[in-house]
């Protein structure tokens, strides 16, 4: 083996090692920082529900919203039609927020089965939402899958 070849082999080995280390490091980091898109049913069924950061998508159940403007505290129920989860949120809701609308809340499930969130996002439907509070589950699922999130 000539010197040049040795040098080259060494170079290739070094690059591969660097890429390997980088991949391993970033994959483990990635795992810790994943945010899961779950429905209330999926959230309740998940094994790692307690540790995971979740973007919980569902419909705000009409009649369950309480907004304490003094303490900037918001609570409401989110449902996917099968399972309903109580959400407690710090901070004020966005302008579009109202009952019967599709929302995404980012946060974690607490031991008391209440979902604690600091970020409430409204899902925009492609179609105009019926304002009468009727839950159209098919429409909602479509919205959750395809709609756009505004911060």
């Amino acid at each position: 083996m000539t010197d040049a070849m040795k040098k080259r082999m060494f170079g290739v080995a070094a690059v591969m090692l660097a890429v390997g280390v980088l991949a391993w490091l970033s994959m483990s980091d990635l795992g810790e920082n994943l945010v899961y898109y779950w429905s209330p049913t999926e959230l309740m069924a998940a094994d790692n529900a307690r540790d995971a950061t979740v973007r919980l998508g569902g419909m705000v159940v009409p009649g369950t919203m309480k907004h304490d403007t003094e303490r900037a505290h918001l609570s409401f129920d989110v449902t996917d039609g099968e399972t309903t989860v109580r959400v407690e949120s710090e901070g004020n809701p966005p302008q579009m927020f109202r009952e019967g609308i599709g929302v995404v809340v980012e946060g974690k499930l607490d031991d008391d089965k209440v979902f604690r969130s600091e970020k409430v996002m409204v899902k925009h439907s492609n179609e105009y939402q019926k304002p009468d509070g009727e839950i159209d589950m098919e429409q909602m699922k479509k919205t959750l899958a395809e709609g756009e999130v505004l911060r």
Binding site: T2, A4, A18, V19, L22, A23, S26, M27, D29, L30, E32, N33, L34, V35, Y36, Y37, W38, T53, R55, T69, E70, A72, G91, N92, P93, P94, Q95, M96, H124, N126, E127, Y128, E146, G147, E148, V149, L150, R151
Partner: protein, 676 residues
């Protein structure tokens, strides 16, 4: 009528692209003069057709010809003039047409600027560039046809997306990004030309690097403007959230920046050749990936307002370009070796020996490694959710902490290297000389850190960032000023004359230093505004007074403003000593499916040292109560300063060197001569 005209022009563009691609191949492989002229004329034909097609569309938009499908999709009789023109890139089909038009402009400029020099390469370059043009002309002619005729044209269209209507930056940010994205096809074509021609002279690296700098500059501006738009509209007071679509524009910027630096090593030393070529080719591939991400709606994000079935076709094109690049590199890069060896033997040129650790070469090598790692990490975090959904049917996203974790150390390391690289000479330097060069930089860095500490900015990361900014600033400034003072002493010239003489002689280098200042501005702005941001939500009734930091804020009341195209709820706040702030929530009457969605216009008071930012969260129905988000961010505007400074530096680097005698001397081939 315009439908037919536009369609005809697009088909002509497709025809010219096809003949140009073929003729370029013929001219390259057979060295045929007539084929070369044919290829060149076809390229001009493609440019003219595509640009005219764009003008036809702008005309259709202006006269509101709703018999053209795209006008019916985004046009409206109520939109103001500037918005009507901007509507060209309001929606998918128009933006692909616009893309084709920019490709036409780049094609014409490339062919014109290369002229009759570099005849070994230019036919091949046109072959590849026209090959790319075939794809885009095909898109505009088929699945993304904006000129489809509408039999029973409506009298009124929905109008463009409200996000576009809401802020003038949307008239500037997308074209800048497109100029960046599309332009990357030129360096890609030039690199492929070297591989196809089987030779790579240092002389050919000159146009390759220059044609990388042009789109790189636009990409840099586009990214900064995108951040500014996010800041000015989205209401959360930030510029960057590692959103997949933001990342999409960041990938090619990272590899492009790495390329600009490694190309210097290649031109000067003949080292890092294959790596540099890979960087250049990846940059183009990443712009394609970025377009796919933004334009196919694979991500749910604020940008994905253009969902369509164009995704699969684009993905197929990316795959083709990817395979083509790899095959080309695998089959042809060793030919460059042989060519280099032969010429080395002829000229008696020998590859320079390995540089010592303390050199600019090493700094650039490390910089390239850091940029490579940076690209890999961002790409992984961006693409991972797509793969997880495609392969495992899991819907996930990657949180911001993942990106912040590596972006901070890697970014700071790059600032550090930015201070070292320009200070050290090429090749090698004795440790004493290196120290002599770096000690003043360290001193200035320390000064910055001390000033930060004394003025109360004492968070460790901010202090470290400011130290590095000072360190890098001095390294670049010294290299900028020292030659001038030397000349002043040697020639007894005044500072003005000496500066013009010195800077004019090595514009590329000094332009690079100026671009570095731009980056340092952004780093400074980010470190301060992110580190010392204060945010508070206030709930106020009319007439109520509240305190935010040192500011006394009165909610003076809210009202509705009605304009032809929108209704705005305006809240008025009076801040003692600063005057009135009027953040708005706008609802647009036009804009298709996005009409009726609230879009924000925060009120921002910008000064060189701080921004005060008001964004409405909620206004009650009776307008007596408002929830407002207040943000204080020190030195935020410095981030935006980066764009014009980087652009200025790049333009100076792009000016042709004053003495063009160099072009008449045939430069030595690039390649590792010592390889055996």
């Amino acid at each position: 009528m315009i439908s037919m005209l536009g369609r005809g022009l697009v088909l002509a563009a497709l025809f010219f692209a096809a003949t140009g691609c073929f003729a370029g191949f013929w001219a390259g492989s057979r060295r045929n003069q007539r084929a070369w002229e044919w290829a060149r004329n076809s390229a001009y034909g493609f440019s003219a057709s595509m640009i005219l097609a764009n003008l036809a569309m702008v005309y259709a938009l202006l006269v509101r010809d709703f018999s053209v499908s795209y006008v019916a999709e985004v046009g409206s009789t109520t939109t103001p003039l500037w918005l009507t023109i901007v509507s060209l890139w309001a929606s998918l089909n128009g933006s692909i047409l616009f893309w084709g038009g920019i490709l036409g402009v780049y094609t014409a400029l490339t062919v014109y600027s290369l002229g009759d020099r570099y005849r070994e390469y230019t036919p091949w370059a046109l072959h590849v560039l026209m090959g790319i043009s075939i794809f885009f002309a095909f898109l505009v002619a088929s699945i993304a046809n904006p000129f489809a005729p509408i039999a029973n044209p409506p009298l009124e269209g929905p109008g463009p997306n409200p996000l576009l209507q809401n802020h003038w930056l949307m008239a500037v940010h997308p074209p800048m990004l497109y100029l960046g994205y599309v332009g990357m096809s030129v360096p890609f074509s030039l690199i492929c030309a070297a591989l196809l021609a089987g030779r790579l002279e240092a002389g050919w690296m000159v146009p390759v690097r220059r044609w990388m700098l042009v789109p790189w500059m636009f990409l840099s501006i586009g990214i900064v403007l995108g951040g500014w738009w996010s800041y000015a509209v989205l209401g959360w007071g930030g510029a960057w959230a590692w959103d997949p679509v933001e990342n999409a524009s960041f990938h090619p910027w990272l590899t492009g920046t790495a390329f600009i630096h490694s190309a210097m090593v290649l031109q000067r030393k003949g080292k890092l050749r294959d790596w540099t070529l890979v960087l250049g080719m990846s940059t183009f591939l990443l712009t394609l990936l970025g377009t796919f991400m933004t334009r196919s709606g694979v991500f749910n994000s604020v940008h994905s307002f253009t969902q369509s079935d164009i995704g699969p076709v684009f993905l197929a094109f990316i795959a083709i370009v990817f395979v083509y690049s790899i095959v080309l590199l695998a089959l042809r890069s060793h030919v460059l070796d042989e060519e280099a060896r032969l010429t080395d033997a002829r000229l008696g040129h020998r590859g320079s020996s390995l540089a010592s650790v303390l050199s600019r070469d090493t700094a650039i090598l490390l910089q390239n490694a850091a940029f490579g790692a940076f690209t890999f990490m961002v790409l992984l975090g961006t693409v991972y959710p797509l793969l997880a959904e495609a392969l495992q049917d899991r819907r996930i996203s990657v949180g911001e902490p993942y990106f912040d974790r590596f972006a901070l150390p890697l970014g700071l390391m790059l600032v550090f290297l930015m201070g070292i690289g320009p200070s050290l000479p090429w090749g090698r330097s004795a440790p004493e000389t290196a120290m002599k060069r770096l000690v003043p930089s360290l001193a200035v860095g320390t000064l910055f850190a001390v000033v930060a500490l004394v003025t109360g900015y004492n968070k460790p990361m901010t202090v470290l960032a400011l130290f590095l900014v000072g360190f890098a600033l001095w390294g670049n400034l010294f290299e900028f000023i020292e030659p001038v003072t030397q000349r002043m002493r040697a020639r007894k010239e005044g500072p003005g004359v000496a500066a013009i003489k010195v800077w004019g002689k090595a514009r590329r280098r000094f332009g690079g230093h100026i671009a570095h200042y731009g980056v340092l501005c952004a780093v400074f702005g980010l470190a301060m505004s992110k580190g010392y941001r204060h945010e508070q939500e206030l709930n106020l009734n009319t007439g109520e007074v509240a305190q935010f930091l040192d500011y006394e804020i009165t909610f003076a009341g809210a009202r509705d403003d009605s304009e032809t195209h929108r209704i705005s709820s305006v809240a008025r706040f009076e801040v003692a000593g600063l005057g009135a702030f009027e953040p708005k929530v706008n609802t647009y009457t036009s804009g298709g499916r996005m009409a009726g969605q609230p879009i924000f216009t925060p009120a921002v008071h910008s000064t060189p040292t701080y921004d005060l930012y008001f964004s409405i969260l909620q206004i009650s129905q009776d307008k007596t109560n408002v929830i407002v988000r207040l943000i204080y961010e020190p030195y935020q505007v410095w981030v935006w300063f980066a764009a014009p400074i980087i652009a200025l530096g790049t333009l100076i680097a792009l000016l042709p060197p004053r003495s063009s005698r160099a072009s008449s001397v045939k430069p030595a081939p690039v390649g590792e001569g010592s390889r055996s």
